[in-house]
């Protein structure tokens, strides 16, 4: 074997595929670096959330020791006597959020379908732009508009016919003073619709044309193509947008507290006033003096966190179930 007179420069030497590259060379290739950086970012989210939960846990220790599990099923909220129970707030939070979803999801998905499938591209872009602007309206303004505009409309034009037709149902009974679970749900629905519309529209636009063409070739109507072919393809993204919207609804403070009536009691009727966890924290935290009081409010935040955990767990399981039926693409 003849030996080479000069060795070629290292960069031109093709390493044997079985030889391991050194760490530095791996970093230069870029894959490892990208992996590490993105991994660190993903990890930081878990770190931040754990830190948050830790702070909440530590700061609520007084209240947890004072009340234990009773906190979750008693209804008294008395800062003067230092007695605290979270049940009315949990009820209010769950009711308003789900009602808001009920109102927002059909409208949001409907609008998204229109904007993605039917509207001419220019119009669709302009309209979407404007709808996304709704997300920027400060919560306080939604609250004020709720008081000045929405409540009178509900009181004068929406609730009377509602009570005339469906008033026998327990959820629509009782005197209506404007502030109520229902009003809060309406305001929340308006606030979360932009998220559903915007993200659903983008996901629908990302569906490959082949999906549509396949069904159109079979002679389906436009609606059938959309509903049976495009939407199922995009459904995971759309459900994701719904959960994003739900998350915002659960945590919304200012607008809700201005239209819900702020009464810590449980009523079956949607037309009666109520309270949510986020609203009571917003109302009372800045002024709460006394360590047990503050601790109780922080425990409420912890409870909301737990509620969010449960709802998200259910959502995840649902999605996993759907995934198994989905064909890989």
């Amino acid at each position: 074997m003849a030996s080479t007179a000069t060795t070629p420069p290292p960069s031109l030497v093709v390493k044997d595929a079985r030889e391991k590259l050194s760490l530095f060379e791996r970093l230069k290739k870029g894959d490892e670096a990208t992996f590490l950086v993105t991994f660190a970012s993903a990890l930081s989210i878990i770190v931040v959330t754990c830190l948050l939960v830790q702070h909440l846990w530590i700061d609520s220790v007084l209240s947890r020791h004072a009340f234990g599990w009773k906190f979750l099923h008693t209804s008294t909220w008395d800062p003067v006597a230092d007695q605290y129970g979270a049940l009315p707030f949990i009820y209010g939070t769950v009711v308003t959020s789900f009602l808001a979803l009920l109102l927002a999801v059909p409208v949001g998905i409907g609008a998204a379908i229109f904007l993605a499938e039917l509207a001419p591209r220019r119009l669709s872009n302009v309209l979407t732009f404007m709808i996304e602007l709704l997300a920027a309206v400060p919560s306080v303004i939604y609250g004020l508009l709720g008081i000045f505009v929405l409540l009178p409309i509900l009181r004068d034009y929406v609730v009377p016919p509602l009570q005339k037709t469906l008033g026998f149902l327990p959820i629509f009974k009782g005197a209506f003073y404007g502030v109520s679970y229902f009003s809060a749900a309406c305001v929340l629905a308006i606030m979360i619709v932009p998220f559903i519309v915007s993200i659903s529209r983008e996901v629908l636009l990302a569906v490959p044309q082949a999906q549509r063409e396949a069904m159109m070739a079979l002679g389906a109507t436009k609606w059938d193509v959309t509903w049976k072919s495009v939407v199922p393809y995009a459904q995971r993204g759309m459900i994701g947008s719904v959960f994003l919207a739900l998350a915002r609804a659960l945590g919304e403070t200012m607008a809700v507290t201005m239209v819900i009536g702020n009464v810590p009691a449980i009523h079956a009727s949607l037309l009666s006033p109520g309270y949510t966890i986020a609203a009571v924290i917003a109302n009372e935290f800045t002024e709460a003096t006394g360590d047990l009081y503050i601790s109780a409010l922080i425990e409420l935040a912890l409870v909301l966190f737990a509620v969010t955990m449960i709802i998200n767990a259910i959502a995840r399981l649902l999605l996993l179930g759907m995934k198994s039926q989905e064909t890989t693409h």
């Binding site: 008294t76 003073y177 404007g178 009372e284 002024e287 709460a288 003096t289 006394g290 360590d291």
Partner: protein
């Protein structure tokens, strides 16, 4: 060589800079009620002493107490004085006492909206307590009717509205109700945030006023300033001398004057239900909370000067903003107490 000269010049200039522009930034927070007054004072004081920035933010009386106790602000504002427990907690966290200095006076007024009734109603303390306890449920209840002879009160249900957010205004209102009704004192008590027996919660003065304006047969309470600035009609309240007084700057100042004799050394006094024929019973001081010791001596000196200025020159800003100015004897007492600050 040139570069070195320029560096020296720059260093000297930067060293001299603090000497020529003495910038002092002071942060305060607390009572929403007193915010317009503190802001007016800060603005005026900055004009008189350029370089002094006094930044006051309204986060509520409780917020003011919390932040001054944690040392995150230099002074606090509150409409409800700190009780002994809170003072002790603060001393433990901060390492020094917190002193109360009254800076102005205000009142809380009842507002109502009864279809067919255009007159401002008279309310006794018992009537208000009964309404807010849920014991008095109709407008034509004898307790209300006997104070308003000649007014045709309907038999409608009273819709009660109170503050949902913690507030000094609620404290003043509840303090008055506690003095007017032993039942209220036992069942509910007085604090910025309460376990209300009945009623809808409105957020802020705006929330309560908006609700009452739009809801027939409703009653609520708001700060006097708020009612005056928004040109709202409000009712009269019976004072300890038995007279029905309409809240205004004079009647509120009269309430303070009546309380001067019994004023404790630390100025923590409630003047609801104060004696005096013309005194408005639902009145209160608003206090500035100041620590006795301050690490930053320059800040401390500026704060002290600001406080003294507020007691004296600053009082003339009170009336245009619908605050009642402090009675002279109270100011005298405060100026003496300010000398006990350790800066």
């Amino acid at each position: 060589m040139i570069r070195r000269l320029m560096l020296c010049a720059a260093l000297t200039a930067s060293a001299a800079f603090p000497l020529c522009a003495q910038q002092v930034n002071i942060t305060g927070a607390g009572s929403t009620f007193a915010a317009p007054l503190y802001n007016a004072w800060a603005n005026e004081y900055a004009k008189l002493h350029p370089g002094t920035q006094i930044n006051y933010q309204s986060i509520g009386s409780g917020g003011g107490i919390r932040q001054i106790s944690s040392g995150t602000v230099d002074f606090g504002g509150t409409d409800s004085p700190m009780n002994d427990k809170l003072l002790a907690e603060a001393k433990q966290k901060l390492g020094t006492d917190i002193l109360h200095f009254p800076v102005a006076l205000g009142g809380v007024v009842p507002i109502h909206n009864i279809p067919g009734v255009s007159k401002d109603l008279n309310f006794t303390g018992a009537a208000l307590a009964g309404i807010y306890l849920g014991k008095i449920t109709k407008w034509n209840d004898p307790e209300i009717a006997k104070a308003n002879p000649g007014v045709n009160l309907p038999g409608n249900n009273i819709v009660v509205c109170h503050r949902s957010d913690s507030s000094g205004t609620t404290f003043i209102w509840a303090d008055f109700l506690s003095k007017a009704s032993a039942d209220w004192k036992n069942k509910v008590g007085a604090a910025p945030s309460l376990n209300w027996p009945v009623g809808i919660g409105g957020k802020g003065n705006e929330g309560v006023a908006g609700f009452v304006r739009q809801t027939p047969n409703s009653i609520g309470y708001v700060e006097l300033i708020y009612a005056v600035q928004n040109k709202m009609t409000y009712g009269q309240v019976q004072n300890s001398a038995g007279k029905f007084i309409k809240a205004d700057l004079n009647s509120v100042t009269a309430a303070a004057a009546g309380a001067v004799k019994a004023m404790p050394a630390d100025f923590r006094v409630s003047i609801t239900g104060a004696p005096g024929a013309t005194a408005y019973p639902v009145s209160s001081f608003t206090w500035m909370l100041v620590p006795r010791d301050m690490k930053d001596k320059t800040k401390g000196a500026t704060l002290k000067a600001f406080l003294i200025w507020g007691m004296t020159e600053g009082q003339k800003f009170a009336q245009p903003l619908s605050y009642a100015p402090l009675p002279r004897p109270v100011v005298e007492k405060e100026l003496a107490a300010i000398k006990t600050l350790h800066y």
